[in-house]
C-alpha cells in the first residue's frame, strides 16, 4: 500500500542545483513520471522550490534552493502544464522562471498595484 501522506525524506526527494532542474525533470518524464505540482517556501537567503511528480501513485520530489530574486529555468518546455504553478510561485515568492510560455508577469492573482511578493518580502520585477 502506498501512503497518501508522504513525509518528505531523502528517499523520495533529490536535492539538485538550479541549473539541473530541466534535465532532471526530463529524466523523470522519460521514466514515465507525471507532473503533479510545485511547492515553495521561504528560507533565510533563498526560496525552496519542490517539484512533485508521481508514477503509479508514488510521489517523487526534486528540491531546488533558488537564491531570492534570481532566475531558474522553466520546466514548461518539458511539462507544458507547469506554466500555471510557475506563474503562481513567481507572483508569491519572486522566483523568476526563465522561458515560461505564458507569463502573467506577476499578475496572475494580484493587481498591478501590488508591488511586493506576498510570501517573500522582495519586490516584484515587472517587465
Amino acid at each position: 500500500m502506498i501512503d497518501s501522506a508522504v513525509v518528505v525524506t531523502e528517499e523520495n526527494t533529490a536535492e539538485i542545483r538550479p541549473d539541473e532542474v530541466i534535465t532532471q525533470s526530463r529524466a523523470l518524464k522519460d521514466e514515465g513520471f507525471r507532473f503533479v505540482t510545485m511547492s515553495s517556501a521561504e528560507l533565510a537567503e533563498s526560496v525552496c522550490v519542490l517539484y512533485h511528480f508521481d508514477k503509479d501513485l508514488e510521489i517523487r520530489n526534486l528540491r531546488v534552493d533558488v537564491p531570492k530574486g534570481s532566475k531558474i529555468g522553466s520546466i514548461a518546455t518539458v511539462y507544458s502544464c507547469a506554466f500555471l504553478v510557475e506563474n503562481e510561485i513567481k507572483e508569491h515568492f519572486g522566483v523568476d522562471f526563465d522561458g515560461i510560455p505564458l507569463d502573467f508577469q506577476g499578475m496572475m492573482y494580484n493587481d498591478e498595484e501590488v508591488q511586493r511578493t506576498p510570501f517573500c518580502n522582495i519586490g516584484i520585477k515587472r517587465v
Binding site: I2, S4, V7, A41, I59, F83, L84
Partner: protein, 358 residues
C-alpha cells in the same frame, strides 16, 4: 475569416464562479484560449502565518464549500503524518463516510449545473432535488450542511449513531433509486449526446502529460484515483476506479454519474464494517518536517504541502486543488471546438475557481 478575439467570462450564465478566458476564434471555431485568474483570490495559504496548525483546519475547510470535509481530511492526515499519530479505526471509517457523502452531493450538484448549461432546466432541478437528501444527511450527522467541521488532528469530532446510520442507509436507497431514474435522460437523451459526444476530447496521453486529475483524468482512460492508496478506511473497502476511454464531455459525465453509485456502495460497505472505538487520539508535540498529503476529492486529487518546524504555526501551507490541475488540460481541449460548445466544455472539468485561487 479574420481572427476575432472574444472575452469569455468572468461573468457568464453557466459559470457559478468567475473565470475569464480570452478566446481567439475564426469562423466560430476556437483557435486559442488564454486564462485570466485572480477574481476570487483570498490568500488563504498566507493565513498560516497568523493561525496555528489547529486553527488552520477551519481555514482549509473554507477553501471550498463543496468538498470542505476533504480539505480538512487531507490537511489533518498531513499533520498526523508529521506528528506520527495513529488515527483510531472508527475515525478512519467516519472520515470515509463523510467524504463519500461529499462526493455524492458534489456530483449531483455538477450534474444539475451541467444540465442547466445546455438548457435542460428540469433535469437541473431533478438532480438538485435529490442532492437535498444528501445535504440533509450531512446536516443530521455533522450539524452543518456545507462546512462539516468533523475532522480534527488525530481523528474526528463527532460520531454517527446506529439510528442515524440506519436513516442514512434508508435515504441512500432513495438517492440511488431517484438518480437511476434520471440515467436515461442524462446519458441516453439524443440532445444531451449531441452536446457532449465527441466534444472536447482529451486523449489518454494528453491527460497524463498535462497532469489532469479526477474524473477528467479517468474519463480519458487512466485508472488513477488517490483512494487507491488506501487512506482513511479505503484500504479495507472493495474499490476500483471508474474509468471511461473516450475522453470527451460525455465520458466525463458518465464517470461522475457512475461515481455516485460507487460512493453509495462504499458508504454501505463502510457502515457494514464500521468498528467500535475511540473517535480520536490526543496529539502530542508539534508538527516538525515536511509532508505531501493527497486525497481524492470529487473533482480529483488535492495536494497539501505542509512544512512545520516544531512550532504552533506552520512555516508553509501549500494547496494544489484539482481544478488548478485541470486548467492546462482545458486549454488543450478548447482549440478546435465550436464557440457554442465552450460553456459545456468548461463545465466538464467541474471547475471550482475559489478552490483554484484559494
Amino acid at each position: 475569416m479574420a481572427k476575432t478575439v472574444l472575452p469569455f467570462g468572468p461573468q457568464h450564465p453557466v459559470l457559478p464562479e468567475p473565470l475569464h478566458l480570452t478566446l481567439a476564434i475564426e469562423d466560430e471555431i476556437v483557435k486559442e484560449a488564454i486564462p485570466k485568474l485572480g477574481y476570487v483570490h483570498r490568500g488563504l495559504e498566507k493565513l498560516a502565518e497568523i493561525r496555528d496548525h489547529n486553527q488552520m483546519i477551519y481555514i482549509v475547510e473554507r477553501v471550498c464549500g463543496i468538498c470542505s470535509c476533504m480539505h480538512a481530511l487531507c490537511y489533518c492526515q498531513g499533520i498526523e503524518a508529521l506528528m506520527g499519530l495513529d488515527v483510531p479505526a472508527r475515525a478512519k471509517y467516519l472520515r470515509t463516510i463523510w467524504a463519500e457523502m461529499h462526493r455524492i452531493h458534489s456530483h449531483l450538484l455538477w450534474l444539475g449545473l451541467f444540465a442547466d448549461a445546455f438548457g435542460f432546466e428540469s433535469l437541473f432541478m431533478q438532480f438538485w432535488r435529490i442532492r437535498e437528501r444528501v445535504m440533509d444527511l450531512q446536516e443530521e450527522t455533522a450539524g452543518n450542511r456545507v462546512i462539516l467541521s468533523v475532522n480534527q488532528v488525530g481523528g474526528v469530532r463527532r460520531d454517527i449513531t446506529a439510528e442515524s446510520a440506519q436513516w442514512i442507509l434508508d435515504t441512500l436507497k432513495l438517492v440511488e433509486k431517484e438518480t437511476l431514474q434520471l440515467k436515461s435522460t442524462i446519458l441516453d437523451d439524443a440532445t444531451v449526446k449531441l452536446r457532449t459526444v465527441g466534444k472536447g476530447v482529451l486523449t489518454k496521453e494528453k491527460a497524463y502529460e498535462l497532469g489532469a486529475a479526477g474524473p477528467t483524468l479517468r474519463a480519458s482512460g487512466i485508472a488513477q484515483d488517490i483512494r487507491q492508496t488506501g487512506y482513511a478506511a479505503y484500504s479495507e473497502l472493495d474499490f476500483a476506479p471508474v474509468v471511461e476511454t473516450d475522453g470527451d464531455c460525455y465520458a466525463r459525465t458518465v464517470v461522475r454519474f457512475k461515481e455516485i453509485f460507487q460512493a453509495i456502495d462504499l458508504l454501505r460497505q463502510a457502515f457494514a464494517k464500521l468498528p467500535e472505538g475511540e473517535l480520536a487520539v490526543k496529539p502530542k508535540g508539534l508538527p516538525t518536517g515536511e509532508v505531501v498529503s493527497r486525497v481524492e476529492q470529487p473533482r480529483g486529487e488535492v495536494l497539501y504541502y505542509l512544512r512545520g518546524s516544531g512550532k504552533k504555526f506552520l512555516e508553509r501551507v501549500r494547496i494544489r486543488t484539482p481544478t488548478f490541475a485541470n486548467i492546462p488540460p482545458l486549454l488543450d481541449m478548447l482549440p478546435g471546438c465550436d464557440l457554442a460548445d465552450v460553456p459545456v466544455l468548461i463545465l466538464t472539468i467541474d471547475p471550482c475557481i475559489s478552490c483554484t485561487e484559494r
